[in-house]
């Protein structure tokens, strides 16, 4: 039986731990081998053992408290675990664990000796053959042996002295380990890279802002110096279309962040969705979701790939619920905009331009004495992953409608760094189910309280799994939003939930704070 199970688990992987681009174009069942499960970013599982009729029987299988060596506590697991051959691999800043997916018992724990960097979160690990890859807050890409957590090599991927740090869960595409960088304390350029999985050597680097005279986008900056310090970090794992051979990722805020006098213009390619060839880093197209942003609304939220239908025509689409409160649907072959609509009510725009970009309202320009803006800096949503169900045609995202007063602190002609900031005053939180064809909210589940920070999972069992604001992990009817099951985790969901089938049972995993919870639909005892 064990041999059979191993064979079944390996069916989605061409070799142990090596994601097969063809297989990863489809949603996994017996494993969860990448950050998003597959390459599409849909976080939709075809599993239906747990469904609307029986989800009320979902039971706790085990919990695992991530111990960082100080006795546990204090760690926030925002990583999406990957599960390969019955072992879960997940991370927190400076830490990686391997845990038995059947029991929740630790197999090994790797600790990185940090030299600094902001320890804001780590989104997870990537697998290739028998190796794991993760990024560290002090700017390294590290390769580990999957079987024992021993370090194979380390490569610096950013400059800690320039206040970069790293959080992204890398993405494996064939022989490329795609990595991103984080940080917006000082004014530095964003970029995305690919590394050789065997050696860690740099294969290519693509900047997200112009770095020399004549670079594309330079006309959207007042000077080359402004562009070279213009931000556009690459916080979140890309998605990938194997047929088009393009990766898709969003870019972060322009810098300086709030006070923008020194960077007049659209500030390309910050707060944009970029399509890039993973073999050479060349950009195929871009679409800017927030031209010249002044609110720290990183446009990095997962670009979800949808094979859908618009006006009766089959289309290869890309959808993003962006931090600025707008939902975008693009043609992912060309980047042409199909739909732009609010998924939470905003007050910062006057209109949408002819190419689908929201136009900032001049009356809501940031001021020394304060401008009341919604969304707040946290955004209509944030880094936490959404989900799309091809069964319902709905895009699910945990959303916030929050207000802040934004202030300019530095009114000089050349502000740098954080020459302004916001003060949050009020917020509401809800799970939104968005019809990708129209952008209309099909249903909305409002949570009590404010500040959701958890991801979403949808399944062929007709379910959506998400966290609310009061510490519940909830299964809802994907078509109606009706809650069908919940478990109090003692704290808010802190990552993106995953699901897989093992030993004939479907499991659902989620983390809250430093604890990973595994729920299972048990079979009758024989």
């Amino acid at each position: 039986m064990n041999a059979l199970i191993v064979v079944l688990f390996s069916a989605e992987l061409s070799a142990q731990g090596l994601p097969d681009p063809t297989a990863l174009a489809k949603a996994p069942t017996s494993s969860w081998p990448t950050y998003n499960g597959d390459y599409s970013g849909r976080r939709f599982s075809p599993l239906k053992q747990i469904n609307t009729a029986n989800v009320h029987q979902l039971s706790l299988a085990w919990i695992h408290r991530a111990n960082t060596g100080g006795g546990g506590g204090g760690t926030r697991l925002s990583a999406t675990p990957i599960q390969i051959n019955g072992v879960l691999y997940f991370s927190a800043p400076d830490h990686v664990w391997a845990v038995d997916a059947r029991t929740g018992r630790e197999i090994w724990h790797y600790t990185w000796q940090s030299k600094g960097g902001l320890h804001i979160g780590n989104r997870g690990v990537a697998a290739y053959h028998n190796w794991l890859y993760f990024e560290t807050p002090d700017c390294h890409l590290v390769a580990l042996n999957m079987k024992d957590g021993k370090e194979r090599w380390r490569r610096q991927i950013c400059d800690l002295d320039k206040f970069y740090f790293a959080t992204m869960s890398p993405l494996v595409i064939r022989n490329h380990i795609v990595t991103g960088v984080s940080g917006d304390d000082l004014d530095a350029p964003g970029y995305i890279e690919a590394h050789d999985p065997e050696t860690g050597d740099l294969q290519w680097r693509t900047y997200t802002v112009p770095m020399k005279a004549g670079d594309p986008g330079i006309e959207s900056w007042p000077s080359l110096e402004a562009a070279q310090h213009g931000g556009g970090m690459t916080w979140i794992t890309p998605t990938y279309d194997p047929e088009l051979n393009l990766i898709y990722f969003g870019t972060g805020n322009p810098q300086p962040v709030i006070a923008s006098k020194g960077r007049k213009g659209d500030n390309l390619f910050t707060e944009s969705i970029l399509a890039v060839n993973p073999d050479n880093g060349k950009m195929a197209w871009y679409f800017q979701v927030s031209p010249h942003d002044t609110h720290d609304w990183d446009g990095v939220e997962t670009p979800v790939l949808i094979n859908g239908e618009i006006n009766g025509q089959k289309r290869r689409l890309l959808a993003q619920a962006s931090r600025n409160g707008f939902f975008f649907v693009l043609d992912r072959a060309t980047g042409k905009n199909i739909l732009t609509t609010e998924f939470v009510k905003t007050n910062w725009t006057s209109d949408v331009d002819k190419i689908g970009r929201p136009i900032p309202n001049p009356a809501k320009e940031l001021q020394i004495d304060g401008a009341l803006v919604t969304p707040n800096q946290g955004g209509g949503t944030n880094w936490y992953p959404p989900s799309f169900s091809p069964d319902t045609g709905l895009f699910y995202v945990n959303a916030n409608r929050a207000f802040s007063v934004y202030y300019i602190f530095d009114p000089s002609d050349k502000p740098e760094g954080w020459g302004g900031n916001d003060r949050s005053v009020y917020g509401e939180a809800m799970l939104q189910a968005i019809d990708y064809k129209t952008g209309k909210i099909r249903w909305s589940r409002k949570w009590e309280g404010q500040g959701t920070r958890g991801g979403v999972l949808s399944t062929a069992g007709g379910l959506v799994f998400a966290g609310d604001t009061t510490g519940n992990f909830i299964a809802l009817n994907a078509a109606t939003g009706q809650p069908l099951w919940h478990a109090g985790l003692g704290g808010s969901v802190s990552n993106g939930p995953i699901t897989y089938e093992m030993d004939g049972n479907q499991y659902v995993l989620v983390s809250s704070g430093d604890t990973l919870f595994s729920f299972v639909m048990n079979s009758p005892v024989k």
Partner: protein
């Protein structure tokens, strides 16, 4: 020069008075980054004014004659003035007031304290609100008593008497927008949070319980009644829950204020001494 003084003041205040809450640079950048000494930075400021300001500008952000030192790799990679000193001593810097090699090791260190202080003063949470008292109190009074709907619950001679004395203007601004706001609670150590939310809970065929909200979600509800007793219920189809938030109007008004309204009301509230 006024902006230079402002930046240095922000930096020095951050060290001497514990404000803002997070020390400049805490948690970001390398663990071994240069932490400036305020006394050395003060000496470095004078040195900078004599040696550097003409080319690098009052804020060290560069001019047509000199580079931006806040974004300078030499400065960012410097520790204790060593890299800055090497750069100056190695004659890479053609337009020095004092010739290469003539500034002392101590002077390099003082310059480093000053420049690293400027770098840290650009980081998140190191600067603060400048001035929110730009509105017209008279216009604020008119709005307070009409479209703002404030006068329905509040008055300057009643519950708001003396509020302009008790709170800083920026606190007043955020507090009137939503008194239970998270920013107010975080930044100012809690303080009065406005009137609490109350609940009325009626079980099927049972007696209504009233009290202050303790917990409410889609599945459970809890309150504390007038006698201080804690009561909780599972939310079932037969359980009626009525939530009364006395601040609901504050939330609804957020969609209606213009920024001018906000500045005017702040000025009006500040006049309640």
């Amino acid at each position: 020069m006024r902006l230079l003084i402002l930046l240095v003041t922000v930096f020095l205040v951050a060290f001497s008075q514990g404000r803002p809450q997070r020390a400049p640079g805490a948690g970001v950048g390398p663990d071994d980054k240069h932490i400036p000494d305020p006394t050395g930075a003060e000496r470095g400021k004078k040195l900078y004014a004599a040696e550097c300001i003409n080319c690098h500008g009052t804020q060290a952000r560069g001019t047509e004659r000199g580079a931006d030192l806040i974004r300078s790799t030499v400065v960012l990679k410097d520790r204790s003035g060593i890299q800055i000193g090497d750069f100056l001593n190695n004659n890479q810097h053609k337009l020095q007031v004092t010739p290469a090699g003539q500034l002392t090791r101590e002077q390099h260190l003082d310059l480093a304290h000053f420049l690293h202080g400027l770098v840290l003063s650009t980081l998140r949470r190191t600067q603060d609100v400048l001035d929110v008292l730009t509105g017209e109190a008279k216009a604020g009074a008119a709005y307070f008593n009409s479209e703002g709907k404030c006068a329905g619950c509040h008055s300057g001679t009643g519950d708001l008497k003396g509020i302009g004395r008790r709170y800083e203007p920026v606190q007043l601004q955020q507090r009137f927008l939503f008194p239970r706001g998270s920013a107010f609670g975080r930044r100012f150590g809690g303080g009065p949070q406005g009137k609490p939310v109350t609940l009325e809970v009626t079980p099927a065929g049972g007696k209504t319980a009233k009290g202050t909200l303790v917990f409410l979600d889609d599945f459970n509800v809890a309150l504390r009644d007038d006698q201080g007793e804690y009561q909780s219920w599972k939310r079932t189809p037969g359980l009626k829950v009525v939530k009364n938030d006395p601040l609901q109007l504050h939330a609804e008004m957020l969609d209606k204020y213009t920024d001018k309204n906000i500045h005017d009301i702040t000025a009006y509230l500040e006049s309640f001494k």
